[in-house]
Amino acid sequence: MRLLSIVIVLVFGFAANTTAAEVAVTQKGRKFSEKKIELGVGGSIKFINDDDVTHNIHSTTKGHAFDVGAQKPGQTIVHTFDKAGKVKLRCAIHPKMKIKVTVK
């Protein structure tokens, strides 16, 4: 019974990591709270601007390019990733803010 529990935790735990429906990322002090994220296809990232300046998340990764536009302090933006691949995200305004997203 104990072994079965461990197997269930491992299986469902792993699945949750690779097919996460939504991951929350905070922007504060001109930094993202995460540097690398793994998502399943159709998964999304909820970007929370908890900073005191405007941010502007975008990607120029071929086939995955997007721009969410200006995100003012206090705003939340949800972005969905519908294709598998490796996507590099950046704040256009503050390019030191970077995240690597792997969509499987």
């Binding site: 502007n56 206090g74 933006i77 972005h79 519908d82 256009a92 030191k96």
Partner: protein
Amino acid sequence: MLCGGAAAIAFMVTLGTSSWTTEAAAKGRAEWKTEYSRPGEVPFPEENPYTAEKSALGHKLFFDPRLSGSDYISCGTCHNPSFSWGDGLPTGFGHKMTKLGRRTPTILNSAWGELMMWDGRFESLEEQALGPMGAEAEMNQQLDSIVEELAAIPGYRTLFNMAFPADGLTIENIGKAIATYERTIVSGIAPFDRWIAGEESAMSSAAKRGFDLYNNKANCVACHAGWNMTDSGFHDIGLPDDDIGRGNVLKNVVKMQHAFKTPTLRNIVQRAPYMHDGSLGTLKEVIDHYSDGFTRRDSLSDEMKPLKLSEDEKADLLAFLLTLEGADPMVAAPILPANDQVPGAWLKRLSPAAGGKAETPECRTARLHLRRCK
């Protein structure tokens, strides 16, 4: 908005509650001071770590005009240490005195930078070092021949082999050596640093009031943040020219139209005139611009708000900016490796009179004295 032809991308914006406004407002002078401590060491990237040999080689390359197509422009011609690594001009001059479109940016504290150039078109200092060298309007060097030209100088062959034992003189290693040297160019200790470190008498009362304004009412800190007084970011600050800056690179990002990289404010008094187009002659004019002199448009940075500073407040802010001038070390002009005494490819190229043949000693003497060789 969507860009880049991305398919089926969706996002949603919501307004949530945040404590950011109250946190920002609650910060007093003592708390702000904690954000300006100088770093303990210079960061060097893993792919190009510091070595003394690389830095010494980069120092020579930086000041060597033979890196340009004309052999009379070096990196240091525009990035002149006497002008805090700028040139003191509204906009730079390049090959054959070509007037360039933007002011020469300083390379001071570039070790802490992210994207290079006013528009951020280069990802690293290593890339940036080669960019102006190969640009026709700037140094006008043929990058595919620079390795051959430097290899014709015996001293450089030795220096590259010492700095890069694995592969010696390559175009990539030229960029790495120059970038390594540039990362060693760090602003010196300023009165502001001494004040931050606890020396209360290092700054006047006016400058301290200016520091408070910088972080609060004047909101300079929104972009000129941290010890290096820059967020390494890109902002449209409402200058009324046609240059779209970062918008040339990120064509579909609204906030990047007319946006330019935030420069460091370290030693700023030494780098007039100001802004990417050199259009403002004094720091007083710059403060007036931010106070309420900027152009409103969609791309304007959200941090740009009319400040309505009083004349006393402007004077305090200026007093603070003057405390950012550091006691920078003297910069020695390096002794450069001498040309090969046996005329080689480099000398032949310089000597059309030799007609592609080996230059005679008489012709070399004539050329060096600006006389025609018969």
